[in-house]
């Protein structure tokens, strides 16, 4: 599935560059260089907007306001003006995120991915990731189709990581939210449980990655 992304940027070179990076990353960019033209676009034609604030024709914040009146499309603001009031105003007006110039193409893509991923946060009872099938209600886990028996703590650990795939959770947070508060709740105990979980997941155990200085993360292939 390709995501159509509206790029509103008045600088020709930057607009061209952003479009080309988005295309390379598999998106379908539509680039317009005037604010007043942005006012005429149909928000439902796009899945995300990258909006520069300094535009000819109409001020970026006005475009944002206009857009927000019609849709809740994710908006990533590009800001050259590194002043707080503008950023705060943009966030107040409903911008989802902003990227300050100068930025790396990867940086912008990371923000775009993060924005597109956000609504899809797994909150449902069943999660399927990288060969793992987790049923939060039945409290059961299948690895490559085969059921695996997990303890309560191991299951909670896996579920917490699976709810935020590819995002690390700190050991402190996990120790607080996963371990049994009545028992020994140190981070070392957590490491023991993580190690046992890996073993039980067998070949898929490597999905549970240790993140240096942070904690644990469930690494799965990013679905483009």
């Amino acid at each position: 599935m390709t995501h159509r992304i509206l790029v509103v940027e008045d600088d020709a070179r930057l607009g061209e560059q952003i479009s080309s990076h988005l295309r390379e990353a598999g998106f379908e960019p539509v680039w317009i260089s005037r604010g007043d033209l942005a006012l005429e676009t149909q928000p439902r034609d796009f899945e995300l907007v990258i909006l520069d604030l300094m535009l000819p024709g109409a001020y970026g914040l006005d475009v944002l306001k206009h857009l927000r009146q019609r849709s809740d499309l994710p908006v990533v603001v590009l800001s050259a003006k590194n002043d707080t009031p503008t950023k705060v105003r943009a966030l107040e007006l409903g911008a989802d995120d902003y990227v300050t110039k100068p930025f790396w193409p990867e940086e912008l893509l990371a923000r775009v991915h993060a924005r597109l991923r956000r609504p899809g946060l797994a909150r449902t009872g069943r999660i399927e990731l990288g060969g793992l099938a987790i049923d939060a209600e039945a409290r059961s886990v299948r690895v490559a189709g085969a059921p695996v028996e997990l303890t309560r703590v191991e299951f909670e650990l896996l579920l917490a990581l699976a709810r935020r795939p590819n995002q690390a959770l700190s050991r402190a947070w996990l120790a607080e939210h996963v371990l049994d508060p009545d028992r020994d709740g140190t981070e070392r105990t957590l490491d023991v449980h993580a190690s046992r979980l890996r073993k039980k997941l067998g070949a898929h155990g490597s999905l549970v990655a240790t993140v240096w200085g942070v904690g644990y993360r469930l690494d799965v292939e990013e679905e483009a």
């Binding site: 590194n82 790396w104 700190s170 947070w173």
Partner: protein, 513 residues
């Protein structure tokens, strides 16, 4: 218009109508008093034997002496009947010859009591004369010498008035004519006309004009005299204000006395202080801005030159068909990244060093902030082969602060770590809620901070010498900005050096509810 001219004009504009009004009123009152006195005179005369004399011989009434000018003015009011000149049946004058009314009192004609009545007229020796004529009910006199009864008085009496008056035009001066209705209303003497010349002797009018002029002059002089020192003080104040303005409001105006001019001087001094304050603030801002522009220009030129050098080397290698070294591309990337950070930092310094700088405080989503900053440094970390990882709690965690400055502070901590960790090393950013506070840790397994620099990391003076130079130890502008920002927010920033090596910075502060 000058103050004095305006004052003079105001004095004239108010005094002249008042004086004119008073003069007019005085004239009216005097006229009314004269009219009444002449009416009384007519009654006295006619009741005191005049009626009988008139009815006895109306053709020759009044007798001659009555028409004589009495050089010394009017007969006094209430002349006793006995003072009437003796009248013969023919109306001829009495044997005493020309006589004033005062004769009856046994005084010479010249010595009547007249001066008491009209002192000014008397003093000026003006001729004043009084006449009395009688008329029948039809306002026609039997005496052929009598003047025509004035029609306006006639109309007034016919309308029911007991007497009326009119002007009597006499050459050289004004006069008054008073017509009186006698109580008997029959016979040839039913109406009486008394005429008197010289109601307002010209001398009196001249005197009054003179008096008025003197009064006005005195008034004007008084006003000018009073205004003089005030005008002088205002001029001095004006001079001082001009001088002060020319000297950028450095010298205050002299404050003396305790009147409105003093208040004006005080108000000016207060305004001057305010203006001077504003001027200094503007100049301070301008200096900050100018030094920012100068520093930025200077500081950006160095990495930009290095970047151009790297790009040129890359281009040369590409053109000559050689393989481009990974390291030179990486250096170019790092240089560009450094430049971006530097400009943000210089802009942060400009804000922090500005006099009376205030934070643009708002609710800051800390998880979003961490993700943004990590995303900014991730490309460079990746290019250098460094693992840059982060964790934020799934629950919202916010603090109150200036998002630009906080972001720059965190960015400096991360950038610092990413720059000096060896390839293959790790940098971790962990955001957590600890009770009602937040904790943001940036840790790395790099070379750590040399003990001799540790104590100086957060010294403010440390920045001054190293801000503009790239420190091999990596502790330059960025860390001191981070500390400055933390302090201004009331947050704490600590440096720890774990036993295992590397460095750990922790930013702590109150979290929003």
């Amino acid at each position: 218009m000058k103050l004095r001219a305006r004052l003079a004009l105001v004095v004239l504009a108010t005094a002249v109508p008042v004086i004119a009004g008073v003069a007019f009123l005085r004239e009216r009152l005097q006229w009314a008093a004269t009219e009444q006195s002449l009416a009384d005179y007519a009654h006295d005369r006619m009741l005191g034997g005049g009626r009988e004399a008139c009815e006895a011989n109306p053709e020759a009434f009044p007798p001659r002496p009555w028409l004589r000018p009495n050089e010394r003015g009017l007969p006094p009011r209430g002349v006793p009947l006995g003072s009437m000149p003796p009248q013969g049946p023919n109306g001829a004058p009495g044997p005493a010859g020309p006589r004033g009314p005062g004769v009856a009192r046994g005084t010479p004609p010249v010595a009547t009591g007249e001066p008491r009545e009209f002192p000014l007229a008397a003093a000026l020796e003006v001729e004043v004369r009084t006449e009395l004529w009688t008329y029948g009910p039809d306002f026609v006199s039997r005496n052929l010498e009598a003047p025509t009864f004035p029609t306006e008085i006639r109309a007034a009496i016919q309308a029911g008035a007991s007497h009326g008056s009119a002007e009597w035009f006499v050459p050289t001066h004004d006069g008054i004519a008073v017509g009186v209705k006698m109580p008997w209303n029959e016979g040839p003497c039913a109406h009486v006309l008394v005429r008197r010349s010289q109601v307002n002797p010209p001398g009196a009018q001249r005197g009054m004009l003179l008096g008025t002029a003197v009064l006005l002059a005195v008034l004007l002089a008084a006003v000018m005299f009073t205004a003089g020192p005030v005008v002088e003080r205002i001029r001095r104040l004006t001079r001082q204000v001009r001088e002060s303005a020319a000297a950028r409001y450095a010298s205050p105006a002299e404050v003396s006395g305790s009147d409105e001019v003093t208040e004006l001087a005080q108000a000016f001094n207060a305004a001057a202080t305010e203006v001077r304050g504003n001027l200094e603030a503007i100049e301070s801002r301008e200096r900050t801005l100018r030094s920012f522009v100068e520093n930025t220009t200077h500081d950006v030129m160095v990495p930009l030159t290095v970047l151009q050098g790297h790009l040129t080397a890359i281009r040369r290698r590409v053109e000559s068909g050689e393989t481009v070294e990974r390291a030179s591309v990486l250096d170019a990337l790092q240089e560009a990244h450094y430049m971006g950070s530097l400009i943000h930092n210089l802009s942060a310094v400009a804000r922090l060093e500005q006099e009376g700088a205030t934070l643009a405080t708002a609710r800051v989503d800390l998880a979003a902030l961490v993700e943004r900053v990590v995303a900014r440094h991730a490309p460079i970390a990746k290019a250098r082969g460094i693992s840059l990882e982060h964790a934020v709690p799934p629950e919202p965690l916010a603090a109150s602060g200036d998002v630009t400055l906080l972001e720059q502070a965190v960015s400096n901590l991360i950038h610092n770590a990413v720059r000096y960790v060896e390839p293959g090393g790790h940098v971790a950013v962990v955001l957590a809620r600890v009770g009602a506070r937040f904790s943001l840790k940036v840790l790395d397994d790099g070379p750590g901070i040399p003990p001799e620099l540790r104590a100086r990391v957060f010294e403010r003076a440390f920045r001054a010498e190293s801000a503009r130079t790239r420190h091999p130890g990596g502790l330059g502008l960025g860390l001191s900005i981070a500390l400055d920002v933390a302090r201004r927010h009331g947050f704490e920033l600590d440096l720890r050096t774990p036993e295992a090596g590397g460095a750990e910075f922790e930013l702590r502060g109150d979290a929003c509810a």
